[in-house]
């Protein structure tokens, strides 16, 4: 038995000062030597508890052992059979609260870097020449997928592998959903996403952009004149929430969705070479402390803000962002205003943002979410001078499809109601998964939902 290192093999990262001015990926990835060295840290537990922490139940020790043995093709095969988006999940999954949280080494030392290894194997796979094209669809039942985010992509891939002709309908001009418009290039290079989409196309999946189901065509059209046997709804959670405080419509106030879409989808960072601008002053405050908030504030630095701030009504212990994202944001010079709740956005006479009026908070008893409830401290109002405010306080599912689809049931938050086991909605042959069902969650949960729904759809239409 070789000696185990107590620490994770470090992930090579680009220098924080340099990287905070460009969009090149922060984490550079392991080389083979680092990957094999890290893989050797796995204890090869008889009862691999890490697998239980994975939403898609990747046989983690199996692929890690292949890496340790230098069999990357074998590792890639195991990984891809369980998770159709390994290059993406290896980069954006919150491993520290999933597989790595369970790792047996973690009870005394630092867990195995499962996420970094996943990414390594997927990147290795991407660097290989493509194999033979897979066989054409063998089954007659066509399936339509609404939305090309992680849930839709995975569902499409699984159904294509099961032999079904699959068409994905995407409302925007480019496929990928939140992976395209939401997650920035420095965390998920778009060439990784493009590669994953290319694999689906090789499987025979057809992707039709610029079609909004619910507007351009209806659910009835899909089943009727278009002849689909089943539909998977993976429309995500793309409806931004606002706080309802005064000043939200001032010039210079954005939703995180808009801010990130302008940069990620429309390439505002390259303005005026690209035609879409984004308005960033010297000081920008981002309200919220999830991954999207971190993405937003770090993007703001990269498009010219001199000072990026996170303003959050709770403390760092309650923030929902991944540890790594928080850590990277600190390295890049982001300021954190914890226990600070915005009450008003202030503007000048011409309607431009000048400041964010906040009140200090203290933590009280736990609330419904189990987190300590923030309580305002009376008389503690103060103003942070800012040029931009971005609200990153969450998203809800988009209601467009619901508005035009009779009989499709949703709960009070607009999330589609599905049966736990089958992911079937209130409509026959209509299935759903991902953020459209759960509300804003993670890529891997969406991928897992897409995967299990594919199986349910296959069973439903092949009866």
């Amino acid at each position: 038995m070789p000696l185990k290192r107590v620490d994770k093999t470090p992930m090579p990262e680009r220098d924080a000062t340099l990287r905070s001015h460009d969009f090149v990926e922060v984490n550079e990835g392991y080389n083979i030597a680092r990957a094999r060295f890290e893989a050797e840290r796995c204890l090869r537990c008889q009862d691999p508890v890490c697998v239980a922490g994975c939403p898609v139940k990747i046989p983690i020790p199996d692929f890690v052992h292949k890496v340790a043995a230098g069999d990357m093709a074998g590792a890639a095969k195991i990984l891809r059979s369980a998770n159709p988006l390994p290059a993406i999940c290896g980069r954006v999954c919150p491993q520290e609260s999933q597989c790595e949280a369970q790792c047996s080494i973690g009870t005394r030392f630092v867990p195995v870097a499962i996420g970094y290894l996943e990414r390594f194997v997927a990147d290795w796979e991407m660097s290989q020449p493509p194999g033979d094209p897979p066989p054409p669809p063998t089954r007659p039942e066509k399936v339509a997928i609404i939305g090309s985010g992680p849930a839709g992509l995975v569902c499409a891939g699984e159904l294509a592998a099961l032999g079904h002709p699959v068409t994905i309908f995407e409302g925007l001009h480019a496929a990928g959903g939140v992976l395209r418009y939401g997650i920035p290039e420095f965390r998920l290079p778009k060439e990784v996403l493009d590669w994953e989409i290319e694999q689906l196309k090789r499987l025979g999946v057809e992707i039709v952009c610029n079609v909004i189901v619910g507007k351009t065509i209806t659910m009835d059209d899909l089943f009727g004149k278009m002849g689909y046997s089943a539909v998977f709804v993976g429309t995500g959670a793309g409806l931004p929430q606002f706080m309802g405080i005064p000043g939200e419509n001032l010039n210079g106030v954005y939703s995180a969705n808009e801010f990130l879409t302008r940069v990620n989808l429309m390439h505002a960072n390259d303005f005026p070479n690209a035609d879409t601008p984004v308005m960033v002053g010297k000081r920008i405050a981002v309200i919220g402390a999830g991954n999207t908030a971190m993405d937003t504030v770090r993007t703001a630095l990269r498009v010219g803000a001199e000072k990026g701030m996170i303003v959050y009504r709770r403390s760092d212990k309650e923030m929902t962002a991944r540890v790594e994202e928080h850590h990277h944001a600190i390295e890049e010079g982001v300021e954190f205003h914890w226990l600070t709740n915005p009450v008003e956005i202030l503007g000048d006479e011409e309607g431009w943002v000048t400041g964010l009026k906040c009140i200090r908070m203290e933590l009280g008893e736990p609330d419904d979410s189990g987190r300590a409830r923030p309580v305002p401290i009376e008389g503690s109002e103060f103003v942070i001078p800012v040029d931009n405010v971005v609200l990153s306080i969450g998203n809800r599912p988009n209601p467009l499809l619901l508005q035009t689809t009779k009989g499709l049931d949703a709960n009070q938050w607009g999330c589609l109601v599905v049966e736990d086991e089958s992911a079937q909605t209130s409509l026959q042959h209509v299935f759903a998964g991902g953020d459209a069902v759960t509300g804003a969650a993670t890529v891997i949960l969406a991928a897992g939902a897409g995967k299990s729904a594919a199986q349910a759809i296959h069973e439903d239409i092949c009866q």
């Binding site: 001009h173 909004i212 409806l239 419509n249």
Partner: protein
């Protein structure tokens, strides 16, 4: 992609395109809009649907060349493709009651009245259109509008055609009983100052009035919230809740201000496009 089947110059800066878009044409309703993108790296801009032909699967849009994207669009010719076109977006006009409807089109806003007035006429309304422009050379689509409504009233600032004065002045005369007479309802589509003036003209007489707002948008599906407008004290997304709103409830001051958010960047983008054209020896 949407292939251009017809292109007409309506004025020196206004172009009409009829494009192949069978799915959009089949679903389109008066009042809705599409979003187009004309090149890789290009922006997404909303354009009101001027008309649609379900049988032939075509859509008509009218573009005024004011910014980078509309100018680029203007350079496309018969047989070219518009890179991306998605729609129909927004809500269709909701006007179940019958009566005398006056549609007001300022500048190229007149185009959007085509399908709107045809539909309102077909629903049994008496229909009048008031279109206005600085001078007669800038008036567009008069013949087409005459086919889809009962009366067409023309206004020019310099009196070179029709009534001399603003559309709102003619509207005030109609309200007082002149010409086709007092409207039961008004729909105004055009530049923000014109829609605001129409709103003020009908407010006192309590004539229900709709305006078609055109705030800045990115996706057009409710995802970005960039198009938020305040209507009756509530924040609405023009892309999904509109674009038609009760004129008397719209906060025009805010809407005008928000539309000017990127004036500097828009100029920079236009200058750059102009430079590029020069460098390429075009124009």
């Amino acid at each position: 992609m949407a292939r251009i089947l017809e292109k007409r110059s309506l004025t020196s800066v206004t172009k009409l395109f009829r494009v192949e878009a069978p799915l959009v044409a089949a679903a389109a309703q008066p009042g809705q809009f599409v979003i187009v993108r004309v090149r890789e790296g290009g922006e997404r801009i909303p354009l009101t649907i001027a008309d649609y032909d379900r049988d032939n699967g075509t859509l008509t849009i009218v573009v005024q060349e004011v910014g980078t994207t509309t100018k680029l669009l203007g350079t496309l010719e018969l047989g070219d493709d518009i890179l991306d076109l998605v729609g129909p977006l927004g809500m269709a006009i909701d006007m179940p009651e019958k009566g005398h409807v006056v549609g007001i089109g300022g500048g190229f806003g007149a185009a959007a009245l085509l399908c709107l007035m045809r539909e309102l006429s077909a629903r049994g309304n008496r229909t009048t259109v008031i279109i206005g422009a600085r001078d007669s050379s800038l008036l567009i689509l008069i013949d087409e509008l005459e086919k889809v409504c009962d009366n067409v009233e023309i206004c020019t600032d310099d009196g070179s055609a029709g009534f001399k004065g603003f559309v709102t002045e003619r509207l005030a005369q109609l309200i007082d009983g002149s010409g086709p007479g007092k409207p039961d309802r008004v729909v105004a589509i055009g530049p923000m100052p014109m829609m605001r003036a129409v709103s003020e003209t009908t407010r006192e007489k309590q004539i229900p009035t709709l305006v078609s707002l055109d705030p800045l948008m990115v996706d057009g599906t409710g995802m970005c919230g960039g198009c938020r407008v305040t209507v009756n004290g509530e924040v609405k997304f023009a892309c999904v809740d509109g674009p038609l709103f009760d004129a008397h409830q719209v906060d025009f001051k805010e809407a005008v201000r928000r539309n000017k958010m990127y004036v500097r960047q828009e100029q920079a983008s236009k200058d750059r496009s102009a430079c590029r054209s020069l460098a390429l020896g075009q124009d």
